[in-house]
């Protein structure tokens, strides 16, 4: 933002006195507006809330009154890290979010590939729009709609109940949670893969054919490696909201499918133990940040482009 503004100004004035800003605006306005506003937004809506949560996580609860005390106490973290329950829920959260992410990859890759490589480029815009449109409907509404589909005597059972052996009563199961996640966050997986498929140079595929690769070998040796950056971006973008989600397991999952997000929501909303909920949130955030750092260190995306 800043550089483009400056670049345009110097290009516009050419050799004329370059110091004088155009249209009488003081020189500090552009940099402050273009850098300052985003920084202010990030501070107000990301950094400050995070700091508040961090501060809460070191408060304690008064045993008698149940009210929060503003002291400095690491007992919340001790409880989070030593408790077997939280470790089990964390592991389950990983499993569910990971399974949903892999499932989404399997669903999204063929869609993204078809969209980016097989569809006439002039018609891709409309189809991409169709991928995005569900995002305009509330996440909660879309999740609720699955209850009607998956419940006993629901739409799925009406439609496919006659198929022997096909489970149609899926509500309040792990499968329902996975279905919900895949449906709700699928665009996050499709869009980055679509972008990398679209950027794929078709002549490289012809070159692979020419050198003796049948289609499936071409896919493994050329298409897949060259769209890997999109896949990696999709995996990350999809995994993170699943990892922190609590609505989907709450609405669609059974008691055995509760995730970390549910535990945190319970601490804040029902147990009124904000310090413990805050400590759990901080641990989750750290896991995601550290996990991402390690992930990007090993999955060196730039390698692909040399």
């Amino acid at each position: 933002m800043a550089t483009s503004t400056l670049g345009r100004r110097s290009a516009g004035t050419g050799a004329a006195p370059a110091r004088r800003p155009p249209r009488g605006l003081p020189g500090w306005v552009a940099p402050v507006a273009s850098i300052g506003v985003p920084v202010a937004v990030l501070v107000a809506f990301v950094l400050l809330p995070l700091v508040f949560v961090g501060v809460y996580s070191f408060y304690s609860l008064n045993e008698m009154s149940g009210l929060m005390q503003t002291d400095f106490w690491v007992g919340n973290y001790r409880e989070v890290l030593s408790s077997d329950i939280y470790r089990r829920v964390l592991w389950r959260t990983f499993q569910i979010a990971g399974a949903a992410t892999l499932l989404a990859l399997v669903v999204a890759y063929p869609m993204a590939y078809a969209l980016g490589a097989l569809v006439d480029p002039r018609r891709q815009g409309v189809l991409v729009l169709l991928v995005i449109v569900p995002f305009w409907t509330s996440y909660i509404v879309r999740t609720f709609s699955w209850i009607g589909i998956l419940q006993r005597d629901g739409f799925l059972q009406d439609a496919l109940g006659w198929v022997p052996g096909l489970p149609t009563d899926l509500l309040y199961s792990r499968a329902a949670v996975l279905i919900g996640f895949v449906h709700v966050f699928l665009p996050l997986m499709i869009l980055p893969i679509y972008a990398s498929v679209r950027n794929l140079d078709r002549r490289l595929l012809e070159a692979a054919h020419d050198l003796g690769s049948p289609p499936w070998r071409t896919f493994l040796r050329v298409t897949l490696p060259l769209t890997l950056p999109g896949v990696v971006a999709g995996l990350v973008l999809f995994f993170i909201p699943c990892f922190g989600s609590f609505v989907t397991p709450q609405l669609l999952g059974g008691t055995g499918d509760l995730m970390m997000g549910n535990v945190i929501a319970t601490q804040f909303g029902e147990a009124f133990n904000w310090p413990l909920g805050a400590a759990l949130s901080i641990v989750m955030t750290l896991i995601v940040v550290v996990g991402l750092a390690i992930f990007f260190r090993f999955a060196d995306v730039d390698q692909v482009y040399g």
């Binding site: 012809e206 020419d210 050198l211 060259l226």
Partner: protein, 363 residues
Amino acid sequence: MVDHDVALREVTKRFGDLAAVDGVSLDIERGQFLTLLGPSGCGKTTTLRMIGGFEFPDTGEIYLRGEPMGRRPPYRRDTSMVFQNYALFPHMDIAANIGYGLRERKVAKAEIARRVEGMLALVELPGLGGRRPKQLSGGQQQRVALARSLVIEPTVLLLDEPLGALDLKLRRQMQLELKRIQREVGITFIYVTHDQEEALTMSDRIAVMNRGRVEQYGSAEAIFERPATRFVADFMGASNILDAEVVDADAGSARIRVAGAALTVSEAGLRPGDRVALMVRPEKLRLTAATGPDGTMADGATGWDATVAARVYKGATMAYQLGLPGGHALVADVANAPGGARFEPDQPVRVALRPNDAVVIRG
């Protein structure tokens, strides 16, 4: 029978209403350097892509070493293509790019490494196997693309304007290099270009294409010296093409009327009344100061009375633009010999031409 690596029989390819390639037949001998030459849209690239299996003919057949290809895909054909923009795999280093086809053919690792080294030496890029394509210059990438195709020892190497993206100096150098490599490996090359000079420099045979058809197929010399059609003459850079009519003909020569004068040409098989075109190379015209009214000269040359319209000094030669009766124009290149005659603008001159130096174009 001649050993044909590639044969095309009445090959036609349509894109919608347009016949990109229209009934092309060609026989290409083993080990030859053939150039498909023509303006953009003439069907040369489509022809090349059909030989490689990237497109299939609507009608007609393509044979590789006598075997009909039908709708066989590229990965099951013994051809290899050097693409215009190289199409090197960006996620692999140079050695992996060159070894790609060998790996697909399940060649042992050590053998691949050995042959990749050999190829790097052939294209004069030793020691660059570990680089990425983006770290190489355009000319170097071009050599890698060539090596990647040659290493699999195809029956035919297809080259789609491979030098198009290089600057002129590098182009000239690569033309000679390509020719050297072709002689060294002895593989049939089919080369597509729109540059007639490039075609003349490198080719054993040239097929000049226009509107999906082969206008003329022959040696570089034949195409340049005796173009079969007006299009070929024009495309090969001829500057003097005049409409002509046969007045009188006998067994070995004919009298033709062209731009107001009667000329004798050595051309058999013409009949009085035939409408033809006459092509004259600028360097074959001789100029003298205008003399008597008689058109015949000592050595049997005939010619026109003309006026010098302009002259351009070109170093070794002087190019004269001449105005002929009836609004026709000619260009003559006269060697700048010491003590040779010079002509001034507006000066009347006599333009002479030996019967053997005029090329009659019937098409």
